[in-house]
Amino acid sequence: MLLNYSQPLEISHLTTWLDSALRAGMPEFWVLLIEFVLVGVALMVAYAVIALILIYAERKITAFFQARLGPNRVGKFGIFQSVADMIKILLKEIIHINNVDKFLFYAAPFFMIVASMLTFGAIPFAQGLHAIDFNIGVFYVTAVSSLGIIGVLLAGWSSNNKYSMIGAMRSGAQFVSYELSSGFALMTIVVLAGTMQFSEMIEGQRYCWNLFNGHIASFVAFFIYLISGHAETNRGPFDLPEAESELTAGYHTEYSGLQFGFFYLAEYLNMFIIASIATTVFLGGWMPIQIHGLEGFNQLMYFIPSYVWFFGKTAVLIFLSLWVRWSFPRLRIDQLLNLEWKYLLPINLVNILVMVILVLTGLTLTDLFPNLF
């Protein structure tokens, strides 16, 4: 009951109310079935809506970086531009290509979308808005998000097109390499947090974010995670799998209409997923800023609903990713692999060691200043 008054805007009120209402008049099985369906639908809708918002934000911010105005015709400030684009892409003809491996060709977009959808479900969006909360959450996220590369490789292979093939191969090399770094960076924080479960991780960051808690090692891990996560999304300076100037469009050259839309959607959602995992693991997830001993301040912070905190932090990271994207030129494939295997990976391995030492010798901030954090 106390929750009701202190956090008036939380969506979890709605969900608990719905749950109790359903349970009142139905057997357990049907309640669960209905809730599963509802959660699935809600996730899918959120998936589409977030992608639309991201596409709009990306186009606007990109434009500002290039001293342009960006979309500004459809609706005020062009806010309905991406809705119009979505309608267009839904209505577009799917062109059937003769010499492709039909089954794999049509299966590939689903691999992409399913992989990012599975990851999407494991993200804690707000207090109580968390579809899958495994005790091995970090592990699960790393595992399913790397499924997406199968979609990319299948698309490139089955398209029967040299550009698609080259793009897919580059993407494979890139993804496999950077998966390592991002995994290790997350492992560093798992060492610090002592848990792989996202909900526990967030609870552990109540007074001190993991980013500050492990100071040096955490910062290094954070930046390595951002770099490798950015590389995994095939964007920015790491966009050689779909380098327009070299490979027409890379692995999705032959796709059209909704199938292309799937790739497009998955690309944007991967950006969001990377940012939101970074938020959850490093920046305290949906947890509002809390300070030891300042109860009034803490209550005040709780008035801002947790989803606002989550999306705010995620938005900052997404902006960072866009900023990087429009600052740096594209890497060559050898530079890309150099960066990973000669720099990120060795630094990462040393970093894990440093983190282990920090944790074991009690040099993390929570250990050093138990009253403050």
């Binding site: 500002f64 900023w323 990087v324």
Partner: protein
């Protein structure tokens, strides 16, 4: 040892240069946006004066133009865009005279090469700045340049003194007003002050109408 120091110095220099790049784009993010929002900014839109949009034949307030129907523009047009239709009339002193009946220009065929304007001996045509030329049917692209009921401006008979300065002044003061006076004076004293004019033209080069002024020298 050397390679190790090279590794780390390279790493940190790389990070530094990345940060420099990001600071540049950060500043760029807050610069003034250069996008022109066209239909809304019609009032403040700046079109370069040298931009060739449509061929016009300037008429003065008496509905008079400078075209003598000589047909040089028609001859010089590379793809037959212009056709000058003339007719013969009899002046009051009984002389036969060729005057302009219709000056027809087909925008659909024009390449905007400016040869007609350059070669016109009486500076009767010029390229205007109205760029909104979209029409719904192709036939509308064919335009008659001389206005209805217009006639050719009579040349002033008296020879002007060879003084380039006043000529230039009138041009600078009234750049909007078609160069009727200036031109007619030029046609009179064309050969005389062409050389003097060319010197002045250089000074006035920055002004909009300088293109017009250089022409006499070319002819000379």
């Amino acid at each position: 040892m050397r390679s190790i120091s090279k590794y780390f110095s390279g790493l940190f220099r790389g990070i530094l240069s990345l940060l420099t790049g990001m600071s540049v784009t950060w500043k760029e993010l807050w610069t003034k946006k250069v996008t022109q929002q066209y239909p809304e900014n019609r009032a403040t839109l700046v079109i370069s004066d040298r931009f060739r949009c449509e061929l016009t034949m300037p008429h003065d307030e008496n509905n008079e133009h400078a075209c003598t129907a000589c047909g040089i523009c028609e001859m010089n047009c590379p793809n037959g865009t212009i056709s000058v239709l003339s007719k013969m009339i009899e002046t009051e002193d009984g002389k036969k005279k060729k005057i302009l009946d219709k000056h027809i220009w087909d925008m659909g065929m024009c390449t905007f090469c400016n040869l007609c304007v350059i070669t016109c001996p009486s500076n009767a045509i010029k390229f205007g700045n109205n760029f909104e030329n979209a029409v719904f049917t192709r036939s509308k692209l064919v335009q008659q340049l001389n206005h209805e009921g217009s006639k050719m401006r009579e040349k002033k008979k008296e020879v002007k003194p060879v003084e380039p300065k006043p000529v230039v002044e009138t041009k600078i003061v009234s750049p909007e007003e078609p160069k009727m006076e200036a031109k007619s004076s030029k046609t009179v004293g064309l050969l005389v002050d062409a050389i003097a004019e060319s010197k002045v033209a250089k000074q006035v080069e920055t002004k909009n109408e300088s293109v017009e002024k250089v022409k006499p020298t070319e002819k000379a």
